[in-house]
């Protein structure tokens, strides 16, 4: 009897194990759901918004949430908070995603260049990274925006400079250790070009770290954009963003807290969802942890 049951039990175990490992936790599902909702809102903000985000409704100014015409209430000019929130999500996500991608790409490329060439180029990249890290970014951003004026493209590019030095340092360090460890050196020894080594081997191997880094930088970019908008140098009214809404809603925090609560909750939930998803992806992308 035992002879018959034992093989069945051992054969069933690995399947069950891998199925359990492959199942996505509920929390990650919620995070994915939230982010998908955010992206859909961002893509179809104009169509989904019940009103134009600039349209005032002077009879229903500062209406609380739950109002029959305005589900999330209205602000001091009677503009629909829900409509403004949708447009804000669109603008903020555009800035945050665009900036995160730019800084990740820029930082990784510079880090790889430093790791490949070493010597002088490495010193220059590291010096730029130190410069970037030691300079308060807000001051840099303020001076650039004050000098060139504000536009959405400039804002995205400027934010793209935020955090690149972290990617660069990590990409450089990991690429150097990959070369020392062996697999990158081994592929080079097969006659592979540097492009092949770095794009096909080093990048996938360090991608998990970079993705986690991105999920750390992403919330910071949203907060930075909020800070700039709050200071009046980010997105300019009447265009709105999450930070912009928080900034202007601050004046009514005691009388109409919903104006700033709606975007604030959105910021918190979105950044949290990105972090949860990033953490999950890091485990997923590593075949040794599967």
């Amino acid at each position: 009897m035992t002879d018959q049951t034992l093989p069945a039990a051992t054969a069933g175990e690995p399947i069950e194990h891998s199925a359990r490992a492959r199942r996505i936790p509920l929390l990650v599902w919620i995070a994915i759901g939230w982010l998908v909702a955010m992206v859909i809102i961002a893509l179809f903000a104009e169509a989904l918004a019940p009103y134009r985000y600039t349209a005032p409704d002077l009879r229903n100014r500062l209406a609380p949430p739950g109002h029959a015409l305005h589900w999330l209430g209205t602000d001091e000019l009677g503009r629909d908070v829900l409509s403004r929130l949708f447009i804000s999500i669109q603008i903020s996500l555009l800035i945050a995603f665009g900036a995160s991608l730019i800084s990740a790409a820029l930082g990784t490329i510079l880090g790889f260049l430093a790791a490949y060439f070493r010597g002088f180029i490495e010193q220059v990249v590291l010096m730029l990274a130190d410069f970037q890290a030691s300079m308060p970014f807000l001051i840099l951003a303020l001076s650039v925006l004050a000098f060139f004026g504000t536009s959405l493209v400039l804002l995205v590019c400027l934010m793209g400079l935020f955090g690149w030095e972290r990617y660069a340092r990590i990409a450089r360090g990991l690429a150097i250790s990959a070369n020392a460890q062996g697999y990158a050196a081994a592929v080079g020894q097969l006659g592979a070009s540097p492009f092949r080594i770095y794009l096909r081997h080093v990048l996938p191997n360090i991608a998990s770290t970079l993705i986690v880094m991105m999920t750390l930088v992403f919330p910071e970019v949203i907060l930075l954009e909020s800070a700039l908008s709050f200071l009046g140098l980010g997105v300019q009214p009447p265009v709105t963003s999450l930070g912009n809404m928080v900034g202007y809603g601050r004046e009514y925090i005691t009388r109409a807290p919903w104006i700033m609560l709606a975007p604030a909750v959105t910021i918190v939930l979105t950044t949290l969802a990105v972090s949860i998803l990033g953490d999950h992806l890091r485990d997923k992308l590593d075949p040794t942890l599967r």
Binding site: Q181, Y183, A186, Q189, L190, G191, A192, S193, P287, T288
Partner: protein, 336 residues
Amino acid sequence: MIGRTRIEPLVSAENLRRTYRSRKGLFGATTDVRAVDSVSFAVMPGETLGIVGESGSGKSTMGRLALGLETPDRGQVFYRGLPMPPPGTGEWRKLRQKMQMIYQDPLGALDRRLPVLTQIREPLDIHQPAAARANEEAAAKMLARVGLSPEQGARYPHELSGGQRQRVVLARALMTRPDFLVCDEPVSALDVSIQAQVVNLLADLQAEFGLAMLFISHDLRVVRQISNRVAVMYLGQFVEEGSADDLFAEPLHPYTRALVSAAPQARSAGKAERVVLAGEPPNPARRPAGCAFHPRCPVARPECRVTAPELRSVGPARRVACHAVEAEILSFGEVA
């Protein structure tokens, strides 16, 4: 010369020297460490040259120099009579098809994010990217040749055992049909039971592909099994070189004698007395004057402290660098 067929060495090196600079502390004085010093060798097609020595004796640096992975500070490596191109150039990359390396740590040498079959076909993808279909077939064939199943080919490196990983590294190295292989301690990270399998496979593949090898190891038994000729390294220099049988049967240099006597032997257990070396293991940063081995040498003579012995021919295909051996040979009147 015309009409006389002389076999050209496949890989040869003249007077190689490689120095590493190390610094103690931030403002400390730099010290030069000669990892390899005045080493010459030649490997004939299909031949295996074994390199033995303690850790830190410059064996691995020798292997890297022979493959052109590093540029020697002095001297030159030749492949089929042509000088080795500088590393990283297109010419150098092309030459990788003809010379490959087997690593001590196969897990470190493999990309842990790619299935092993993909990695086995990679050399072909690099050097002939157009023939994707043929590359896949060749890789599958090679996978079977090194004794792995197609199912194992779909796995990731960490899902294989140490011996299987080393088979993957071997398969990958042989994809472009090289004629020169540098094996840097290829079995020392493996289980003893697996070692024999991998060494046997290596010997089979060598015969099948006509490979010349530089076999670096500190394991004398393995070196003896696979090598035609053996060179003994001490602090970056060859102290003795000869055919594997001669060198192990009758070691001349006192260091070789100590090494050979220290190797465990199954049959002649009590027969040979062991030569136990006195003194510290060598520090390549502080090389003793004269013969580098003299502080530990049981037969050191006064001149050993002053002048370094040269590697001299003492018989057919036998070279040794030792004052004592030279004196011995003179007194016995052997033909040098």
